[in-house]
């Protein structure tokens, strides 16, 4: 036997790690002062952060919440011996306007209810494992309820809009049985469109004549502030995801027409700046419309922003589809799942999961892009801030106003980003 041979006679018990490798001291050494370079960076960053705080905190803490104009603020600051503080008077005076635009104050409960209910409608979608699935019925009904709460008018409007879906589906079921599936789909879509564009108007008038149930209407030009941004953002986000999925699938379709329509649509919309689309919505569309048609400006903007977002969404989802191995399609086929079932049960859940970061980036981008509507004269927070700054009392105010807008946008976009991280973690099902 060689002298390298060795047999262990006693097994070792586990010990605690040495103190230098656990605890806060260890964490600091490891993360902040691991090398000389790290140490210098840490010190420089700390100095920069402290310097910034010394500047910003006194500015933030200025006692000007009661100020009624910029001059008045300056007087308060001089009296309090607090030079160079912020003038918060503009926020405390105008925050309701920043939130609701010129929406009638006695009707504020309607947008508030709409957004609270929006949270309820979103809950079963966002937190499907914690919220009872029955709430999804409410989610399905909500898109019809939401505009009614905001714009008001007769209850028959949203009901007629919802009826369009049932009519389309009914026609599809009947037609697909008689003349085949594809024709059935086309007939269903046509029936729904005819209903919405032509017939539903008469139906609503007739029903409203018989049973005038409704709430006070509010015109679009009174909409503004964050209420407007969120409305545009939510609709564009909610509609662009399904539209983007359809476009991404269309782009991969074997049917030539479907494929080229999707490609052209995506490339065209992506190739044009959103501003251009918004100008088309605000001015050009009127030229093409028959005179006298009253096509709501916010509705036009909603359509444009949605189309814009869905083109980007389609490309993001196409990336997810491309990342899926071909074997997934083959396994689904081999098990006898048809195209739509394979897409819904196998392909899309995976493709969407892969695309979450891109989808959420697009969402965030769309939400921030809603501020562009100020250029065509809608009073979103930026549009309002221009109006406020034009007021002689607040002429010259900058940081307070934009800071407030930025903060609220940040709260929304940051929540979206955190949610996407939560979702990615939840959907993680082990290494592949």
């Amino acid at each position: 036997m060689s002298d390298k041979a060795y047999v262990r006679t006693e097994m070792l018990e586990p010990r605690d790690p040495p103190p230098s490798s656990v605890g806060p001291i260890h964490w600091i050494r490891e993360n902040l002062f691991a090398t000389w370079f790290d140490a210098i960076l840490t010190i420089l960053s700390a100095a920069a952060i402290i310097g910034l705080l010394i500047e910003v905190v006194p500015w933030l803490l200025s006692p000007t919440w009661g100020g009624t104009s910029l001059d008045n603020c300056r007087k308060i600051l001089a009296a309090a011996n607090h030079d160079g503080g912020a003038c918060w008077g503009v926020i405390s005076e105008r925050w309701l306007q920043m939130l609701f635009g010129f929406y009638p104050a006695e009707l504020y409960w309607r947008p508030i209810a709409a957004f609270v209910l929006l949270g309820v409608a979103l809950a079963p979608v966002l937190f499907s494992d914690k919220v009872p699935g029955k709430l999804l019925y409410f989610t399905a009904a909500y898109p019809f309820f939401f505009p009614w709460l905001l714009w008001g008018g007769t209850i028959w409007g949203p009901l007629a809009a919802a009826a369009g879906f049932f009519i389309g589906y009914g026609v599809y079921v009947v037609a697909s049985r008689m003349v085949g599936n594809l024709t059935g789909v086309i007939a269903g879509i046509l029936a729904a469109i005819i209903w919405w564009l032509v017939l539903s108007g008469y139906a609503v008038d007739a029903l409203a004549g018989i049973a005038p149930i409704g709430i006070e209407p509010v015109e679009s030009r009174k909409f503004g502030g964050f209420m407007l941004s969120i409305t545009i953002g939510v609709v564009a986000i909610g509609a662009s995801l399904p539209l983007g999925i359809v476009l991404a699938l269309g782009r991969q379709s074997d049917l030539m027409i479907v494929k080229y329509l999707s490609v052209w649509f995506i490339e065209f919309i992506r190739g044009v700046p959103l501003i251009t689309l918004l100008f088309v919505a605000s001015t050009l569309l009127n030229i093409f419309m028959p005179p006298g048609t009253d096509f709501d400006i916010i509705l036009r903007v909603l359509i444009m922003v949605t189309l814009f977002a869905s083109a980007y969404m389609a490309e993001v989802i196409r990336g997810g589809l491309a990342a899926l191995p071909k074997g997934q399609y083959e396994a689904a086929d081999a098990l006898g799942l048809d195209y739509w079932k394979a897409q819904r049960l196998v392909i899309m859940p995976q493709a969407l999961k892969i695309s979450i970061p891109g989808i959420v980036s697009t969402f965030i981008g769309v939400f921030k892009d809603t501020t562009l509507v100020s250029i065509i004269g809608l009073l979103d927070p930026l549009g309002l801030s221009n109006a406020i700054r034009a007021d002689s009392a607040w002429n010259g105010i900058v940081w307070e106003l934009y800071g407030f807008i930025a903060l609220i946008f940040f709260v929304f976009t940051f929540s979206m980003s955190r949610y996407s991280m939560y979702l990615e973690r939840k959907l993680h099902t082990g290494h592949r």
Binding site: P325, G327, Q328, E330, A331, D333, A334, L335, G336, L337, D338, K341, L345, V346, P349, Q350, K353, L427, T429, G430, H431, R432
Partner: protein
């Protein structure tokens, strides 16, 4: 290359070949673009047959069995599976796919679903089996492939051999009459190969009609009733395993056998 697939006795008594035809392929040709990948394939498979398809890489083995469940489209000739002819009619394709199970080299499990959900997906959505019944059947087959305890894990948490056994269970849950295997053990380590072959042997013992593309010649000897040798898109030789291995006729077969068995 292992000579024997498993060390236990294999019960060949139940592996009866019936007179009824399961698959009939008549004068089938297929091209990929201008590349003639399958040339004049004629093959009849009876119920209960266990056929091993062997041949060098690129000879068209995968393409052949993928034509049988229409994962690939053939351009000439007829393929008739359980009495239904494969044509471009989608109804026929759906019908055939529900009769034919397929196991892939890379398992192709659905990573976003648990093992149990993988097994119940198609029965619920294609066969419209009630969920409870589908789950019971899935558990039955998972027990058969000896991994019922993994039912609620995700495929990413299983070993390769376990994943392949789940893939087999998933196919079986559709109650297929025919099973196609495309190199089911090629992506596995030796130990796991044995687990999977064991499962396949059990299937054979229950009388399943099987077409296996495999390089496991031990499996071919012990389980198959017919070995088909393909080269350059053609069936070059077919025979009972005993004859095929001990007394190959064609030079191509001899060369192939000497390469994989020789030394």
């Amino acid at each position: 290359m292992s000579q024997l697939a498993v060390d236990r006795e294999i019960d060949r008594s139940k592996m009866k070949v019936s007179d009824e035809v399961a698959i009939e392929i008549i004068g089938m040709n297929k091209w990929f673009g201008s590349f003639h990948v399958l040339r004049d394939i004629n093959l009849t498979v009876n119920r209960g047959e266990r056929i091993v398809i062997a041949g060098p890489s690129g000879s068209g083995k995968s393409t052949l069995i993928r034509c049988i469940n229409a994962l690939e489209e053939h351009q000439e000739g007829k393929i008739i599976v359980e009495g239904t002819e494969l044509s471009s009619d989608l109804k026929n394709i759906d019908k055939i796919r529900s009769e034919v199970g397929m196991v892939f080299q890379h398992f192709n499990l659905f990573p976003h679903l648990t093992v149990l959900e993988n097994c119940t997906l198609a029965p619920i959505w294609v066969r419209k089996t009630p969920r409870k019944e589908a789950e019971e059947r899935a558990m039955h087959f998972l027990e058969k492939v000896k991994i019922p305890e993994q039912a609620n894990k995700y495929p990413g948490q299983l070993s390769g051999g376990q994943q392949q056994r789940v893939a087999i269970a998933r196919s079986l849950c559709m109650m297929p009459k025919i099973m196609l295997f495309d190199e089911p053990t090629s992506a596995l380590d030796p130990e796991m190969i044995k687990e999977v072959l064991d499962t396949m042997i059990e299937l054979a013992e229950e009388g399943m009609t099987m077409l296996c593309v495999t390089h496991e010649m031990g499996f071919a000897r012990q389980v198959a009733n017919r070995v088909i040798f393909m080269d350059a898109g053609q069936i070059v030789e077919q025979n009972e395993p005993e004859e095929f291995f001990n007394n190959p006729q064609s030079d191509r077969t001899k060369l192939f056998l000497s390469q994989i068995l020789g030394h």
